[in-house]
Symmetry: C2
């Protein structure tokens, strides 16, 4: 398994069996998923001020807003109706059945609760360019790579339920302005993420049979971890170190 953990696993003569491939995928999460990032550790530990929590929620809104776009791009590449029926549920979960429903609306309840102006959030004007570049890289990835790689890049959701548990507990304990109702987004996600990632994992294990395909899916998951990690690097640099907010981005004192 160790070869599957390196940056570019060497081509092997024989493919991994499904259990070993799953183990290699999970090992990527254990070393690269963004629950390990210092920004998230500080968020959970109560070490951020309100402006920093606002910056996180504002930037993460951009990621949330592009997830249904990303899933629509994947959907558009699926030739099989049964597969599309499965995948479209992700879009329903995020977009809901009306403006007040769905994951995106619940994320806006969080930014509302943190005192951010909703029009400003939705405009995405104050989002860090680095956030936009990382998120758009994800959308382009699922358009340009194989369907197998596109599906594999969603496998970060294997790791999100445990990260969400720690985040919700930490935020409720540590920030008096954070209440269960503004964290409603996270109530639904563990169940949805588990359902979605179970499906995606089964798909990947069934379809990544050749060594080159297995390398592709391992790289796809690594890429996706990089997308999440880079967003937190950008937040950390801009909002946890003084004087680094790039031109045009959200400035807490002007909010």
């Amino acid at each position: 398994m160790s070869s599957a953990l390196t940056e570019a696993p060497p081509t092997e003569e024989t493919p991994l069996d499904p259990a070993a491939l799953e183990q290699a995928l999970r090992a990527i999460g254990e070393t690269r998923y963004h629950h390990l990032h210092p920004f998230h550790r500080r968020l959970n530990a109560g070490a951020l001020n309100k402006a920093q929590v606002q910056a996180w929620a504002l930037n993460r809104y951009y990621y949330q807003s592009m997830i249904p776009v990303k899933d629509a791009a994947i959907l558009s590449r699926m030739q099989d109706a049964a597969l599309r029926r499965e995948w479209r549920q992700r879009i329903v979960d995020h977009d809901g059945t009306c403006d007040a429903d769905g994951g995106l609306a619940r994320w806006l309840a969080l930014t509302d609760g943190l005192g951010l102006d909703r029009d400003y959030v939705v405009s995405t004007e104050g989002v860090l360019p680095a956030t936009k570049f990382a998120v758009e890289a994800y959308v382009h990835f699922v358009r340009d790579k194989s369907l197998l790689e596109a599906i594999a890049s969603s496998l970060t959701e294997l790791f999100s339920p445990m990260a969400i548990g720690a985040r919700v507990r930490g935020m409720l304990e540590n920030y008096d302005y954070v209440t269960p109702d503004i964290l409603a987004y996270f109530d639904k996600r563990p169940e949805q993420a588990t359902r979605d990632s179970d499906f995606a994992l089964a798909y990947v294990l069934a379809h990544a049979r050749r060594p080159d395909q297995q390398q592709d899916v391992l790289r796809a998951l690594t890429f996706k971890c990089d997308v999440l990690w880079a967003q937190l690097d950008a937040l950390y640099h801009a909002y946890l170190e003084p004087g680094n907010i790039p031109p045009g981005a959200f400035r807490p004192e002007a909010a």
Copy 2:
């Protein structure tokens, strides 16, 4: 002119005349071009250690390597042979006439001179994900936006000759391992950049006549400044603050 300096200039009833549009474009450079970034100020001032200069050259190689790809994407959208003849010179300048010639080869002479392994540089394996996301955002921008916006996004070259002068002087003065021959890349760039940006500016001033087109070109130049700025933010965060190198990126001690 002040309205043209804001994030999203309001639609005006009357367009700017060409001189005012040029002034508005130059004003974006004065406030957002990456010569103002603290990483470049430190690079020029001799405040970086060799590993940090290596990280800059390694990451910037990725940008350099994608410039001809970006220009080929623009070329592929031009319907006019005369325009293509003008633009293709940029690709010639970067790719040269053989492996030892051209801007990309001269950039590799710089990374060689800084002691980086050429295969490692060319592999781009150690490049920061945030660098890749920013550079790829630029390539996607010129593919997806109008040809006018794609050309306008190249106008950062209006500002590069003055930045290059300060950089070459500063690096030669301040780093004993930096010699004129490893900085040969920068010898040719001011003349090429001036020729290229004169052409692109004339094109933009001639074709951006309506207020909405003028807003588009101002936004395109702002976007491109963000692409350059985000690359330096990522370098600063990863290599000037301890403990922040993301998983998989260049680690000086292992070079």
